[in-house]
Symmetry: C2
Subunit: 190 residues, 2 copies
């Protein structure tokens, strides 16, 4: 595992372990997206972490080794794609707190991007997991954006997610079945 | 400049030079996307190149230096985003040939992804530039997919692009104004 400067962890060597509980939210979402892809439902991907490359070694044309590089701040959210003609865009965050999500975990540029996505007619949302409570919430971005505009608090209470989010039940085959929430949304919008 | 194993070049240190001719197609498209963003028209971004990180040095929490990493093959196309509620997805290629685009420059996984995008109701296309002819074409992905399925040729002739593509005129302010083509498409689809 490699620790990102923001405290997130990524697997250095990717090992896909299907059906294993206790994975990170990112792993669970990637797993879910692979499931959607396999069953021909949606094409939604995690964007790679942007990296500024400053030194590369060339052994041959096909084997370049990066020997110096730095993490960059992404300008958008982590995930996007297409489902039923809809542009899908979201960010995922997990917290070890049982009581609240610290607001600064959600970056202003991510909120600005999600606001734009909504204005252009896309589906913008966030997936928030309270690890110790074993709860994963789907929250439409508009709700979080409005809440953060109105509040002076430095965190969003767990209770807020209970009232404003939609609990995504854990499923062995589809770990974070967020398209179910979108299906419901499409149904209600009709 | 850093040479990618596939022969593409990326700037190691990003220097934004607005309005300068002779930039790479990638630079011109990034410039165009920034223009669209600034004028609140669309949110379309280039995905970062996926990199497999194997070693990182930590000086402090905020300064991590990657000391060993390798380029990975992207699983999708380079660009995606949203415009007028539409999911937009495309790949860009430039060639030094005056007569044809070598087919293997378009990877099978990119074609498979674009085919999926179309099936799900998105707008999938390619932007092809013939550098020495100073011509940039917009081609709907469906046309390229069909052509490559039917042909045994190892390249797509320049004349094919003349007949099946839409020439995107170079514009000082908007270098590769591909949304103009999509606007026309929306108009005709109505």
């Amino acid at each position: 595992m490699i620790n990102y400067p923001n405290g997130k962890q990524v697997k250095a060597e990717k090992v896909i372990e299907y059906g294993k509980r206790g994975m990170s939210l990112e792993d669970d979402i990637n797993d879910t997206n692979r499931y959607y892809l396999e069953f021909d439902r949606a094409a939604i991907y995690k964007k790679p972490t942007p990296i500024r490359i400053t030194k590369v070694e060339y052994k041959s044309r096909s084997t370049a080794k990066i020997t110096e590089a730095f993490f960059q701040t992404p300008s958008t959210t982590d995930y996007n794609g297409i489902y039923k003609s809809l542009y899908i865009d979201f960010e995922a965050k997990e917290t070890q707190s049982k009581t609240a999500l610290v607001s600064k975990m959600i970056h202003p540029h991510q909120l600005a991007h999600l606001e734009r996505v909504i204005r252009y007619g896309g589906i913008g949302f966030m997936i928030i997991r309270f690890n110790l409570l074993d709860e994963t919430y789907f929250v439409f971005a508009s709700k979080i954006i409005n809440y953060l505009k109105e509040t002076t608090r430095k965190s969003i209470p767990h209770q807020w997610f209970v009232e404003n989010g939609i609990l995504i039940p854990y499923n062995y085959a589809v770990k974070v079945d967020y398209l179910k929430v979108i299906d419901q949304y499409i149904l209600e919008a009709k």
